[in-house]
């Protein structure tokens, strides 16, 4: 083998291609800022008389760990795309780890075991909404609020805020923001500066949450919904705008009146729309961009289609009728498709058409650039166009047919990645479901094929509730520890949109 000589000095063995220390340094910086988030539940704990030390201790540990890692690593501006993969992958493993500390410290009820606490925390930060909690009476007011808040922090909160305010992220921020705005989006055309984009998205996210809190609170004050108060309003605003789906109530949205449920439908549907478009429509006052966006049109169409199928099942089987049937059908379709995962009724008790419809909706997801998970409407749309082109090119072999999205041509590389992503998504789902079935059989837990697929789809799609015992009124607690580990991995993969994790598994990534 030939050795390359530079100024007489032979090059050493292949060096690491990733700036590991810089990546860790950045992760530590971001983790450090998480400690601020603990202040909210801490103040609430003081206010309602819960013990506040679990949050204080968690904050101190988080801050300490962050600072420690920051001092032993070094800060450099070399956080590029390559480091970005590692940063996001680590971040979404570590944030939930520190976020799980309060559950562990409180040490009561269903979340006291470290794995359960971590599961709940991963489900929170990835805005999934799958829960271990079996008895909501165990959750203190402050701990329940923390659980809600983790979804908001994870939804669009922490990373976008960091890109908006941290000067050092002016370099690597673009990739990070891309990874945050799940799905292929046209960030480039939105604005020149990535910092500006992040700032706007953050403001929009906070504003939408504020509006949601206000609307729900008004329902409480005016007596429109007696079960609603400011605490519940904030709790559910956090998880609906983040499309998380955690609730403070065992029966989720079912604990509230129909006004609240309709309002949540609205919040979920809006949060499921590309934030770049929402910004253009609401802040720049160009509402027509939403109407012209092909993806958003398909999104609305699919929401209506899903609602229609559920309604047909509910009315057809005579389970429900009237406003209740419409409300339940629309709520469940919107909640599952946007990957929020609230429930206002026990859909597990509905018929098989409903079950299949909901499972199918789990694969749809919200639009790209929203806070939702799963495959996303945009990918389905592009895949459809890709297939149509294949059919056309079967007749006209030499025809050059660009694929257009709302009029503009989509580049071929993005199309390849879309097709690849869908295949990858299904493959990982299949592996996950099979693993769940094998592991459950080994542990003597009765998990049907449909339930396994449902649980895997709900975890990978960051939806939350699935079917069977993991259904809307149930809990993931019965799963074995290994199964919980599989589900944690699926939630993590889903939040990162798979690719960054696979990139980390390649040799070329680590080589210089």
């Amino acid at each position: 083998m030939r050795r390359y000589i530079v100024r007489g000095v032979p090059l050493a063995a292949p060096r690491l291609g990733v700036d590991l220390l810089s990546s860790l340094n950045l992760v530590a910086t971001l983790v450090k800022y998480l400690s601020i988030a603990f202040l909210l539940p801490m103040f609430v704990a003081v206010g309602v008389g819960d013990p506040f030390w679990p949050f204080l201790a968690a904050a101190v540990i988080t801050l300490g760990a962050g600072l420690l890692v920051q001092t032993v690593t070094r800060n450099s501006d070399r956080v590029g795309i390559r480091e970005g993969f590692l940063v996001v992958a680590l971040l979404w493993l570590l944030l939930p780890a520190f976020g799980a500390l309060p559950y562990f410290f409180v040490g009561e009820g269903s979340l006291s075991r470290p794995l359960d606490a971590y599961f709940e925390s991963v489900s929170g930060f990835t805005a999934t909404g799958a829960t271990i909690v079996t008895d909501f009476g165990d959750l203190s007011t402050s701990l329940a609020l923390w659980r809600q808040f983790t979804q908001w922090v994870g939804g669009m909160g922490i990373l976008v805020l960091a890109i908006a305010v941290l000067p050092r992220l002016r370099v690597g921020g673009r990739y990070l923001l891309h990874s945050e705005l799940a799905g292929p989006t046209e960030l480039e055309r939105f604005t020149v500066s990535i910092r500006d984009a992040a700032r706007r998205l953050w403001v929009l996210y906070v504003a939408l949450t504020g509006i949601a809190i206000l609307v729900l609170s008004i329902f409480g004050w005016t007596g429109l919904d007696p079960a609603m108060d400011v605490y519940e309003a904030a709790s559910h605003a956090f998880t609906s705008i983040a499309l998380g789906g955690f609730s403070t109530q065992a029966t989720s949205a079912g604990a509230f009146g129909s006004a609240t449920q309709w309002a949540l439908i609205g919040f979920m549907a809006i949060a499921g729309i590309n934030f770049l478009r929402l910004y253009q429509a609401m802040v720049q006052r160009r509402p027509s961009v939403v109407g012209r966006d092909q993806e958003i049109r398909l999104y609305v169409l699919l929401l209506l289609l899903g609602s229609g199928l559920l309604l047909a099942e509910l009315v057809g089987t005579g389970v429900e009728a009237g406003e209740e049937a419409v409300r339940d059908a629309v709520f469940q379709a919107v909640s599952i498709m946007t990957t929020a995962g609230f429930s206002n009724a026990d859909y597990a008790a509905w018929g098989s058409l409903a079950a299949l419809t909901l499972l199918a909706l789990m694969f749809v997801g919200a639009t790209a650039g929203s806070t939702g998970g799963s495959i996303k409407v945009l990918r389905h749309l592009l895949m459809g166009k890709l297939l149509r082109r294949e059919i056309e090119q079967a007749v006209h072999r030499e025809a050059v047919i660009p694929i257009r999205l709302s009029g503009a041509a989509v580049n071929e590389r993005m199309l390849r990645s879309v097709a690849g992503y869908i295949v990858l998504y299904v493959a990982i789902l299949a592996i996950g479901s099979i693993a769940l079935v094998i592991e459950s059989r080994r542990g003597g837990i009765d998990v049907q094929a449909f339930e396994a697929i449902g649980a895997a789809a709900a975890a990978l799609g960051n939806v939350g509730p699935a079917f069977g015992f993991a259904g809307p009124l149930g809990s993931y607690a019965p799963f074995s520890d290994v199964s919980k580990g599989i589900l944690i991995a699926l939630m993590w993969l889903g939040r990162l949109e798979i690719l960054p994790v696979l990139v980390l598994l390649t040799r070329t990534y680590w080589r210089a």
Binding site: R397, E398, V400, P402
Partner: protein, 442 residues
């Protein structure tokens, strides 16, 4: 007339040849050899140097020029030369460009020259005429595009359709439009009731965009009978311009392009065109895509030999009408001898168009609709105008014509019974000597 011609290439030489006998011509070119050859053939003054250089243009006597023609093959040099022409003299300026974007900018009055000619667009118009769907040359737009001034070539051999050859008073003029002028040779008239449009004329129409479409349809031959489409070989600038022009005439267009990048670019640019990435000389491909069934095939691959080969093969596959865009003047005879129906040379088309305008300044003024002979006035009607409240048929028609009125932001195309109201904006086409009279009356 003192004419300063920049560029002595194929286009420049053709222009010089057409103009040198009647005018004083100074030719500027960077290539001394080309200039000396030209000066042996034609009696012209020559100045060697860069046409975009102020010093060179001054040395060539730009200050005394009546007309500056910038006809090099480079757009930017031509535009810079015309810019100096504007500032250093009172000359009218004619600029040759290849890039259609400049042409559009000129039409929107963002480039200050009197006339702009694009070889690609002239070629496209020629192809369009040959196929029987003569393109409209839009010269100006008023009231946010509601009123257009459009020129049409009246093709030879066009059928009457109640208009061509019929005196105006009994002709079936499309609704919302008026014929403002007829250019016949180098004469231009504002038509009266007795006048007629003859094949070979060029007419100026003021009307709505819809009526402009209708006019094109009148001059297009019966599309329904030869329904099929046009296949364009080569998606270079000429091919692209032809595709665009034909699309505007609602002709189905297919394009065959050998470079994948270019094919993708054109496919993205023109969603309504079917683009093939193919050489165009694969018999299987021609058979599969039924290329031979096309109404016409245009060969614009930028290489005369390739065009000849592809055209011959297309004819073998049944192509009925073949048009080749040639690169080399000598190729015209070769291609036509080999069976290509028409071979056209973009450079001679450009030169012809420029010469046409240089010959008769009145037509040049029409193109910009400004100057000292014809003007389009956009006048708001005063309350005390003598025309208010009179029906249009009763208005005097001495060499002026109200093409349209803008009332409350909407364009109306007046009929005989309509009346002019105070506050209306009238779009009036008139001879310049009448401007004062018209303004006083309205």
């Amino acid at each position: 007339m003192n004419i300063l011609l920049i560029g002595a290439g194929q286009v420049g030489a053709t222009i010089a040849k057409a103009l040198y006998e009647e005018h004083d011509l100074t030719v500027v070119d960077a290539d001394a050899a080309v200039l000396s050859e030209l000066s042996f053939r034609l009696d012209v003054a020559t100045v060697e140097g860069n046409g975009a250089s102020r010093r060179v243009l001054q040395a060539a006597g730009i200050a005394n020029a009546d007309l500056v023609i910038a006809g090099t093959s480079r757009d930017e040099i031509n535009i810079i030369a015309s810019m100096f022409g504007r500032h250093l003299s009172n000359a009218r300026t004619i600029v040759r460009v290849a890039n259609i974007e400049y042409l559009e900018a000129w039409q929107e009055r963002q480039i200050d020259v009197d006339f702009m000619v694009s070889s690609e667009v002239e070629t496209a118009y020629a192809i369009s005429r040959l196929i029987g769907v003569p393109a409209a040359r839009q010269t100006d737009v008023f009231a946010d595009g509601q009123v257009q001034i459009v020129e049409f070539d009246v093709p030879e051999g066009v059928s009457t359709r109640g208009i061509v050859g019929v005196p105006f008073r009994s002709a079936h003029i499309p609704a919302d439009s008026k014929v403002a002028g007829i250019i016949s040779g180098d004469r231009m008239t504002i038509p009266r009731g007795d006048d007629t449009i003859s094949p070979g004329d060029r007419i100026v129409v003021i009307g709505s965009p819809a009526s402009a479409k209708e006019w094109s349809r009148i001059f297009a031959e019966d599309l329904e009978q030869n329904v099929d489409d046009v296949v364009i070989y080569g998606a270079g600038r000429a091919g692209l311009a032809a595709a665009r022009t034909l699309l505007e005439q609602e002709v189905r267009v297919r394009v065959i392009e050998g470079s994948y990048e270019r094919a993708s670019y054109v496919a993205e640019l023109l969603p309504d065109v079917r683009v093939f990435h193919a050489s165009g000389i694969d018999p299987d491909f021609l058979e599969r895509e039924r290329i031979g069934r096309a109404r016409a095939a245009v060969f614009a691959m930028g290489d005369d030999r390739k065009n000849l080969y592809a055209a011959t093969m297309a004819r073998l596959h049944g192509a009925k009408f073949t048009i080749a865009v040639v690169d080399n003047t000598a190729a015209i005879d070769v291609l036509e001898a080999a069976g290509v129906d028409v071979a056209i040379n973009p450079r001679s088309l450009t030169a012809e168009e420029i010469v046409r305008f240089a010959h008769d300044p009145r037509i040049l003024q029409l193109a910009m609709l400004e100057g000292d002979r014809y003007e389009v006035l956009d006048i708001t009607v005063r309350d005390d105008s003598e025309f208010v409240g009179k029906a249009f048929r009763d208005l005097p028609t001495n060499d002026s014509l109200i093409g349209a009125i803008i009332r409350d932001g909407n364009a109306l195309f007046p009929h005989g019974d309509d009346m002019l109201l105070p506050g209306d904006r009238a779009i009036i086409f008139t001879e310049s000597e009448n401007v004062a009279t018209v303004e006083r009356s309205i």
